[in-house]
């Protein structure tokens, strides 16, 4: 989900995605590239992102990933699922020991 979200704002190459997630989580999520790469492959296999070889700003060749239409839909679906999840957890955690005082 994080990858899909990151790509919402534009195409990135693999390393760029890792950097972006780290930055956007304020350094708290540091994803190992070793785990990110297979995830990228899975998403690509499912057709939610597409990839193309392009040249980066520093004139280097890299494989850039972008979100597909299906990927966009998937992102929305996962986002709503995540919000529901967060609310549910909040409800559970919300009944704090204060209540039972």
């Amino acid at each position: 989900m994080l990858v899909l979200r990151t790509l919402l704002f534009g195409p990135l190459h693999g390393y760029g995605i890792a950097k972006a997630i780290r930055a956007n989580s304020k350094e708290s999520l540091d994803i190992e590239f070793g785990s990110l790469y297979p995830a990228l492959k899975r998403l690509e296999l499912k057709g939610w992102i597409s990839a193309k070889w392009e040249t980066s700003e520093q004139n280097r060749r890299a494989r850039y990933y972008r979100l597909t239409a299906a990927g966009r839909k998937q992102l929305h679906a996962e986002q709503s699922r995540w919000s529901e999840f967060v609310q549910a957890v909040a409800h559970v955690m919300g009944t704090t020991p204060e209540e039972s005082k």
């Binding site: 693999g14 390393y15 190992e32 590239f33 070793g34 990110l36 297979p38 492959k41 296999l45 890299a62």
Partner: protein, 869 residues
């Protein structure tokens, strides 16, 4: 969803290249440390594509093949033994499929029904005209008959089948070229002498030449016009008989001279009648619909029967048999034997698998160190098991390929051993391929699974140090002894089978059939071309007897119409003064027209009265000689000599009267069949026509040496006589026992195999044990154990294994023995002699196999043994 494109190697390589490129580009951009573990990333990514298991399998397979090629001895032994085992199983399986299961290659075989076998033409006509709503059509066939066929050159022995006009249309068999026999061809008023060839015969005799239409086929002396060739797969309705040509039944007088009146004589039953059910009619309904007709037919035949019999007929129902698989005498004869053979080859294969398992166990043990290293550095246990199983599968695959190659020749060999007259094309079809694949995989599992699991077990971890001494005794013997015991048990079953069938065959060949077989030759002559009838026939026979008796080396000569150990026979209703048998199929007796001194030449015991001799002329009192069964049935308790018997004539009228001149021992034409009532007439007196003459000659020397002289003499006497064959009585008897000989031969072969494998198994186990325990033995000997003690120590192991294996084997053999009771003659399968011999043999073999390692152990030099460790 897996990415199917990935299976294509170039695609795979392109993907791999692209991944490496991408990772390299990331590394450049990110700097080495930042990008982290790229190897791991690559590995995980590969797993995502979902074909990792296939890649591993492929890699394991290549490794396995490389490893096996490096050990040619092991590989050769295992692949060869598995190949033979799988091939034998596949051969028997394909025979079973052909004989027992395969449906006829006709339209909708499931609606074919057998209405009756051994029907007369008159009966067939009744069914043909009045089958009504039950059937679409009805036809009859004579089955294959041997006739000489000629296509313009020399006559060659062949087979023809005479069929009624609806045969091909009802079966729905098309012609490959030309046309098939049609109802118009079979009109009694003007039968068309046309012939339809079988496809194989067309290929053989005419080379598949389409210009065969219109040419002439001579059946015996009669010309037939070839109008077509049947569809390639079609072989008739009887499995195992593949005629070369089909002819219309109405032409029977031309095709088989001498049988001209077969169609008109209601007593001659030679047709098989079949029909095709109308759609929607079940076999039970058809049976119900046709029963009134069947009852009517039977009542008409039993005109003079007492009321009780008529009531019986009226309440009977017509029995229709499904004929989707055709008629087959093969099936009845071969069904049980094929199943027994299948059991034997299955056990044989199992034995081979256990043997191979032992070999793989030993091999895996040798690799223990390598495997433990791999386990130690983190390879999963099941990963290694999978790799070992791949090796096992590689061996089985090779064995399966070998088995496929020998399947057809093996099946052909079994068929020829079974008495060669069966014509059965053997092809490999998908069923057989699946079968081979199945048992190859099964044997891979049996052979490989247990060794693989055992050798990767945690208990073996301690053996990481090669040659570590464990002198804590050999209590932990492992699975070796169990494997050896299982081998012995399986071998025991096969060896017991070998003894059982050998004994049975021995009893069969020694049984008193009423004929003394030594130095007895039988000459079969076909006299239809010479056309001798009546008195000339008797005169001819007399001339032949005189000339043969005058030959050097001949003791006595006689002749018979039916022959010795043959299937030819005549049956006719008989009555006597005191006894009127009930009407029905069983009310007659078999008969034969024979020459003078028939019984003394054959060596048959004369129980009362006399043999035929020169006194019996057309002018003297008409006599007959009866056998014991006849005497018991018709003259129970009384003296038959001088009494009269009345034999019905074929065309009706007053019966013939004969006076009983003698009573003889029962002569058996088939050892397994109970003797039947029979009487004999002197042909010199009856002057009956004899189309086939079997001259029986008792010789002073080996009959085979005189065969050429016999032929020359007969040809000199009457060139138109055709000598079909000259055999010894022993050979003729053996031909009737061909099935038993087949089973006994195969059982013997498997018994030998079992002995060899048992010996190898015991030897291997003990040699291995001794090698393993060399150090221990060395210490024992150093501490004072004598040679004898060492030998007995080794033998003690064998005794337990052998006792266990043989006991289990006897139990298994006894259980299976019950199933073969029908195939065994003169004894029961549980006969103790069989088990005693088998157990004794196996014990001797096991001891012999154990002797060599035991002796080697006792000869160990203790110092050398200890030093070698």
């Amino acid at each position: 969803m897996p990415d199917w494109k990935y299976l294509w190697p170039p695609y795979r390589r392109a993907q791999e290249r692209e991944m490496q490129d991408e990772l390299r580009s990331i590394a450049q951009i990110a700097g080495r440390s930042e990008a982290g573990n790229l190897t791991r990333a690559a590995e995980q990514a590969r797993a995502v594509r979902g074909w990792a298991w296939l890649e591993n399998l492929w890699r394991d397979a290549r490794y396995a093949v490389r490893l096996l090629l490096r050990q040619p001895g092991f590989t050769a032994v295992t692949v060869l033994s598995l190949g033979l085992g799988i091939g034998a199983n596949a051969a028997i399986f394909s025979l079973i499929d052909r004989v027992l299961w395969r449906q006829l290659p006709v339209r909708a075989p499931e609606s074919l029904t057998g209405i009756g076998t051994d029907q007369s033409y008159a009966t067939f006509l009744q069914y043909h005209d009045r089958f009504g709503e039950a059937f679409e059509g009805v036809f009859a066939t004579t089955g294959s008959t041997e006739r000489d066929l000629s296509t313009g050159g020399e006559p060659v022995a062949g087979r023809v089948e005479l069929v009624t006009g609806e045969y091909f249309p009802v079966l729905g068999v098309p012609a490959a070229i030309g046309r098939t026999i049609l109802p118009d061809d079979d009109a009694r008023a003007h039968p068309a002498t046309v012939a339809v060839l079988s496809y194989p015969y067309w290929q053989r005799a005419f080379g598949g030449d389409p210009a065969v239409l219109g040419r002439t086929l001579r059946v015996g002396k009669a010309p037939y016009q070839i109008v077509g060739v049947a569809a390639p797969e079609f072989f008739g309705v009887t499995v195992g008989e593949a005629p070369d040509a089909w002819l219309p039944l109405s032409t029977i007088a031309a095709a088989t001279p001498g049988n001209g009146n077969a169609l008109d004589n209601p007593n001659i039953s030679f047709l098989a009648v079949m029909g095709r059910l109308r759609p929607g009619i079940t076999i039970e309904r058809a049976s119900a619909m046709l029963t009134p007709l069947a009852v009517q037919i039977q009542l008409a035949r039993a005109k003079n029967a007492p009321e009780r019999i008529r009531k019986q007929i009226e309440s009977s129902t017509l029995k229709l048999t499904p004929a989707a698989q055709g008629l087959s005498t093969l099936r009845a004869r071969f069904s049980k034997p094929l199943q027994v053979l299948f059991a034997m080859v299955a056990i044989g294969l199992l034995l081979v698998c256990v043997n191979v398992m032992g070999l793989q166990m030993a091999r895996a043990d040798e690799r223990r160190r390598e495997l433990n290293v791999r386990l130690a550095i983190g390879a999963g246990r099941w990963r290694i098991v999978r790799q070992l199983m791949t090796e096992s599968l590689a061996i089985s695959a090779a064995g399966g390929a070998l088995g496929l190659a020998i399947c057809r020749p093996a099946a052909a060999a079994v068929l020829s051993l079974a008495g060669g007259s069966a014509r059965l094309p053997i092809e490999i079809d998908p069923k057989v391929l699946f079968f081979i694949a199945g048992i190859a995989i099964a044997s891979a599992l049996i052979c490989g699974l247990i060794p693989a699991i055992r050798v990767t077990g945690t208990a073996s971890a301690g053996a990481l140090q090669q040659g570590s001494r464990t002198f804590t005794g050999a209590r932990r013997r492992g699975i070796g002894p169990t494997i050896a015991a299982v081998q012995l048990a399986l071998s025991m079953v096969l060896i017991a089978a070998a003894f059982l069938f050998a004994f049975s065959l021995d009893r069969l060949t020694r049984y008193d059939t009423g004929i003394v077989r030594s130095h007895l030759a039988v000459i079969e002559i076909d006299s239809s071309e010479a056309g001798y009838k009546g008195p000339q026939s008797a005169a001819l026979n007399r001339r032949l007897l005189e000339r043969l008796a005058a030959m050097n080396g001949v003791e006595s000569v006689t002749f018979s119409n039916n022959g010795i150990y043959s299937t030819r026979n005549g049956n006719t209703p008989v009555t006597t003064d005191s006894f009127q048998p009930e009407p029905g199929p069983n009310r007659g007796a078999f008969f034969d027209n024979v020459g003078p001194r028939f019984f003394s030449t054959l060596g048959t015991r004369i129980m009362a009265g006399r043999d035929f001799d020169v006194r019996d002329t057309p002018a003297s009192q008409k006599v007959a000689i009866i056998n014991q069964q006849f005497a018991n049935y018709f003259f129970a308790g009384q003296n038959p000599i001088g009494r009269s018997i009345y034999v019905e004539r074929p065309r009706g009228g007053t019966p013939e009267t004969y006076q009983v001149a003698g009573v003889v021992q029962d002569i058996l034409s088939d050892v397994r069949r109970a003797p039947r009532r029979a009487f004999y007439l002197p042909q010199m007196q009856t002057e009956s026509n004899m189309r086939s003459i079997s001259l029986v000659v008792r010789t002073r020397v080996d009959p085979r040496a005189l065969a050429a002289d016999f032929r020359a003499l007969i040809r000199a006497e009457e060139p138109a006589l055709r000598v079909d064959r000259i055999d010894t009585a022993d050979a003729l008897l053996n031909r009737t026992l061909s099935l038993d000989r087949l089973i006994a031969t195969l059982a013997f072969a498997f018994g030998v195999l079992a002995v060899i494998l048992a010996a190898v198994g015991i030897y291997g186990l003990l040699a291995y044990n001794v090698a393993r325990r060399t150090g221990e033995i060395g210490i024992r000997m150093a501490l004072g154990a004598t040679r004898g003690r060492v030998i007995s120590m080794v033998f003690r192991e064998v005794v337990f294994i052998a006792a266990g294996g043989i006991a289990v084997g006897i139990a298994a053999a006894a259980a299976l023995g019950r199933l073969v009771a029908g195939l065994v003659f003169g004894m029961t399968p549980g006969d103790p002699a069989v088990y005693t011999c088998a157990a004794a043999l196996l014990a001797v073999v096991a001891s012999g196999a154990a002797w060599i390692p035991a002796r080697r152990a006792s000869r160990l030099d203790p110092m050398a043994a200890l030093r070698n460790e």
